[in-house]
């Protein structure tokens, strides 16, 4: 249900039902059951500029929290993306590989990168919530 006055890219909380948690390096994860969906934040996509390529992880790959899981390329710069939680990659957003600009247009919805089966669900709670992430972004911006 897209509110035309509040497009999702500007007011993402209007259309995202699940709570997101963030890392200090600007990845986000939202958890449904024991599966976390992972992407990069609106702040991160702005800092990167136009994304031209997304390197997805292989399904089945075991990742540790903080280890490199994907990469995005913008204006000749490839940036490593780190797993916000430990677990196994169960799905990669193949559509995103074909439409890398979704990272910019819709970082919290169409721009999701992969899904990770959490091996330690308690990790999710240790990540920054919406408010503390906002503070983190503001702190680094002042």
């Amino acid at each position: 249900m897209t509110n035309l006055l509040c497009p999702p890219s500007t007011y993402p909380h209007h259309s995202v039902p699940l709570a997101r948690r963030y890392t200090k390096e600007h990845e986000w994860v939202s958890v449904d059951g024991a599966v976390g969906t992972v992407g990069i934040s609106d702040y991160a996509q702005q800092a990167l500029g136009d994304v031209v390529f997304v390197e997805l992880p292989e399904v089945g790959k075991e990742v540790e929290k903080g280890s490199q899981v994907a990469a995005v390329e913008s204006v000749k710069a490839a940036s490593d993306i780190y797993a916000p939680v430990t677990g196994k990659v169960v799905e990669a957003n193949e559509e995103l590989a074909k439409n890398p600009t979704w990272i910019n247009e819709s970082p919290y919805e169409k721009g999701w990168i992969c899904k990770i089966q959490l091996s330690n669900p308690a990790e999710f709670e240790t990540l920054l919530n919406e408010e503390s992430y906002k503070v983190h972004v503001e702190e680094s911006a002042h």
Binding site: Q46, K76, D80
Partner: protein
């Protein structure tokens, strides 16, 4: 983002106008400088003397407006200097190893700064104990042996067969890399720069107030900063380079290869970011053998060509005539460009660059406390050790 790009384009077209107007003036200044210095150089017959005499004047009056103008170099003494080292001849794989070691060191220092911040220690810059050296950034400047490299996007089977084809055709090596961008060439006569910089204020001691306000230097701004550095270097040689919708630094003109090409690339960019620390960087064609570019579609742009300082200015021929026989002037000329790049890099980053092989030079020391100087020297020593260990 679009607005940002448009702003840059506007700045660059302004820049081209400036540059064209000042080309003749710069060349005249060059020729004057050459006449007086040629005698000195001829007397000593050494490439060092020629290089020293061959420094283009600062293009102050013709300086184009750049997004980085608001950074004030006068304040650079209050910020951490950046260590740099020039390596005249570096095999590509050694370069990768060296960058990896330097990136690891820089990331570890950021982690430390983070820890001391969370433990309530207010000053991120100078901690206590041997492990809390000043987190000094490093820039490697170098020339590679002939090598083609593929960016992150084109890794895989097709890239491997392309590598094989190029090796057979040209004898040059081929490497896959984790940087942004697609296919390019490095070789003698090209000045390559690998800045290992933390693009964040977290442990990124030394950034200006303006950069602190930005929180960190966003990746896209870093790329644009490198572009502007190379445009300014080209301007010092009277070359009207600019940015276009394609990343990199371009010079208008017909290509050597096909009449269709209306702009040629003089400077290329490809970056890799690991935990906000940069590696890889820029490549500026000085006297590069451009025929290597004829074998590839550089950067995925089939209708664009490559150019170099040597192709764009008559100055190169004068330079050649000054050197004694038996030297390799193409590579030696790059050494004359190094100080120009260092100078322009200092301006866009608003930080002092200190040559690791000549850090006794006192120019960068003014305005710093004895404690800071000691800490910086210790960091330099660490970096020197690390480079030595990796190189030999």
């Amino acid at each position: 983002m679009l607005t940002y790009r448009r702003k840059l384009l506007a700045a660059s077209s302004l820049h081209s106008r400036y540059s064209r107007a000042c080309v003749s003036e710069v060349v005249a200044r060059w020729t004057r400088a050459l006449k007086t210095s040629a005698a000195v150089a001829a007397a000593s017959q050494s490439s060092e003397a020629v290089n020293q005499a061959f420094q283009p004047a600062c293009a102050t009056s013709a300086s184009p407006p750049s997004p980085w103008d608001r950074l004030n170099l006068d304040d650079a003494a209050t910020r951490a200097p950046i260590a740099y080292k020039y390596i005249p001849h570096l095999p590509y794989h050694t370069g990768l190893k060296l960058q990896e070691a330097l990136v690891q060191r820089r990331v570890a220092m950021m982690d430390e700064a983070e820890k001391s911040a969370t433990s309530g220690q207010k000053d991120l810059n100078i901690g206590q104990g041997p492990s809390s050296r000043l987190p000094i950034d490093v820039i490697l400047l170098l020339q590679h042996d002939p090598v083609y490299t593929g960016g992150r996007r084109i890794r895989g089977a097709s890239s491997a067969s392309e590598g094989l084809r190029l090796r057979e055709l040209t004898g040059a090596d081929y490497h896959e890399t984790l940087r942004g961008g697609q296919l390019t060439y490095h070789g003698p006569g090209q000045l390559v720069g690998y800045p290992i910089l933390a693009l964040t204020t977290k442990g990124g001691y030394g950034y200006s107030e303006e950069m602190r306000k930005m929180g960190r230097l966003p990746v896209r701004c870093y790329v644009s900063l490198l572009e502007h550095m190379m445009i300014n270097v080209a301007a010092r040689y009277g070359i009207p380079a600019s940015v276009t919708q394609n990343t990199g630094v371009w010079v208008p003109g017909k290509s050597r290869v096909t009449e269709l090409k209306d702009e040629n690339k003089i400077g290329a960019i490809g970056i890799h970011l690991t935990h906000n620390v940069t590696s890889h960087g820029f490549a500026l064609n000085c006297t590069t053998d451009l025929s290597y570019f004829d074998q590839i579609i550089a950067c995925g742009l089939p209708d664009k060509g490559a150019t170099s300082i040597a192709v764009e200015t008559p100055i190169w021929k004068d330079y050649q005539s000054l050197l004694p026989n038996g030297t390799t002037p193409g590579e030696v000329f790059v050494e004359a460009v190094v100080p120009v790049v260092v100078d322009e890099m200092e301006k866009v980053l608003a930080r002092k660059l200190v040559n690791l092989d000549a850090s006794d030079d006192s120019a960068w020391k003014t305005g710093r406390s004895a404690a800071d100087l000691e800490s910086i020297e210790e960091s330099f020593e660490d970096i020197r050790d690390l480079i030595q260990r990796t190189l030999y």
